[in-house]
Assembly symmetry: C2
Homo-oligomer: 145 residues x 2
């Protein structure tokens, strides 16, 4: 089971982080990326297509084609990728699944989860891929092979 994001989203985040470790516009084939993040090539390719249509990633067809980060790493935040793939329902819905959870009819953890949820949103919004670069490079390099 995934933690809070879907598998698609996790892999999308990993792929974009991978791309952000290299100079902007550096092309990588879906195969290269999939091997690096240890995921099925076709699945990665499909996820990157989604990110392409949302504008975060660019693609180039043909013999020497591939995917690349289209937006400057200083302008992309993790939340942008999450938003493009899973959407933001995570930050709207009641964590206990109650309907109509609000200040007037709060669930038992409405306030406390609300706070944590906002902090999570902030965490995913605060830093850009550029700011995460060093730690990202270190992590990417530790992924064996």
């Amino acid at each position: 089971m995934t933690v809070i994001f879907s598998k698609k989203c996790e892999l999308g985040l990993q792929a974009v982080l991978y791309l952000s470790a290299f100079p902007k516009n550096t092309l990588f084939s879906a195969l290269e990326i999939s091997e690096k993040i240890n995921a099925p090539k076709e699945f990665v390719s499909k996820i990157l297509q989604t990110l392409t249509s949302s504008g975060i990633v660019g693609s180039k067809k043909g013999n020497s084609g591939g995917f690349y980060l289209k937006i400057d790493p200083g302008s992309v935040r993790l939340i942008d990728v999450v938003s493009a793939i899973d959407g933001l329902d995570l930050f709207r819905n009641c964590v206990l699944g109650f309907p109509g959870c609000s200040v007037d009819e709060p669930c038992p953890v409405h306030e406390s989860w609300g706070k944590l949820r906002n902090e999570t949103y902030t965490m995913l919004s605060n830093q850009t891929l550029a700011e995460l670069r060093d730690i990202t490079v270190n992590k990417i390099n530790s992924l064996k092979k």
Copy 2:
């Protein structure tokens, strides 16, 4: 899509919260509970069976049978229900899905998510059902009919 818990877990939490709003050992049939929390009866019944085998809930067969909170509401915490249904992987796995995420090989949000994850765990552990009773009763009563 659910927020961080599975549907089973959400409904299990709702059902237990419902039971905790009444004096301990008060019996409710799966049908009554399912109508209250607006979920399929058989599904609720199955979830409560899980909670029965984990000891949080008790069950009584036969004509006037049903389910009841077996442990005192002052001794049950939300995390106990989560643990019984979804397990605690949520509090162990990397939120970005990276393997081997650790202090030595942290992912880009290892520290910040680690903190939020611990606070989430604390939130689900701190208060007992008894302490949540007032707000629970209010929420349950707002769920129409």
